[in-house]
Symmetry: C2
Amino acid sequence: MKQSYDETALLTQLQQTWYQTIPASQFMQVRPLSFTDQEFSVTAPLAPNVNLHQTMFAGSIYTLMTLTGWGMVWLQQQLAEIDGDIVLADAHIRYIAPIDAAPVAITTWAGADLSVLQRGKRARIPLTVELFCADKLSAVFDGVFISLPKSSA
Amino acid sequence: MKQSYDETALLTQLQQTWYQTIPASQFMQVRPLSFTDQEFSVTAPLAPNVNLHQTMFAGSIYTLMTLTGWGMVWLQQQLAEIDGDIVLADAHIRYIAPIDAAPVAITTWAGADLSVLQRGKRARIPLTVELFCADKLSAVFDGVFISLPKSSA
């Protein structure tokens, strides 16, 4: 089935949004990889994100996974042509294994109802993000994102 | 009661350890504030840590609180003259209010047993970190740190 959106253009716009508004995302070199079939993946190189054990810093792992979840909500809002200010309310992260190469964070859209935003209500979006390093599950993030209706001018 | 340690020297050494081994901590300008009476506090300026709402980015908030907890374990190991590799196993964070000025993260030592490290066993250290912005509680972090005995050469 042909996609009804331009994946490359969307991911370019998302990365620009991150880099222009969140300086830490640019420092970490966070980069969207792909967005297809309701699955969104993101990566970041190890060099700017190491800790003193020469593996990936716990704070960078969390930030990569947070941006993956935030990015998924942003992408879904773009597809639905719905506007909303996305914030993270709550998150739990479990570190499973040290990460010694550029990892891939992956999340899948479970189908939250974004149309409430058009009625001036906030949307609550729980998302799970999994982090893989060389195909090994290395961290799991469960977050609750909230999208707030933008007040009209 | 007079402290039996040099607070300034310890905090300088901690900041150097962070900046030399965790590039993200230097980019974020994370800075230890004080360590007295089992209480440790850390700050970071808003500028390198903003998001697109011009408040503090969720990933930076988490990283600041993670480093506060990690730093507390490091400080306690220094005082006890015990060595150990400190990692974060698990964490939960709750965001309470947007942060629009440099916040202060504070944690208190509850007295975990670090002496197990000297017997070659890992120490498990649960820590709560609270984040205040202009005296208002803005985020709460509960993490479980693990300190691993260093293998002798």
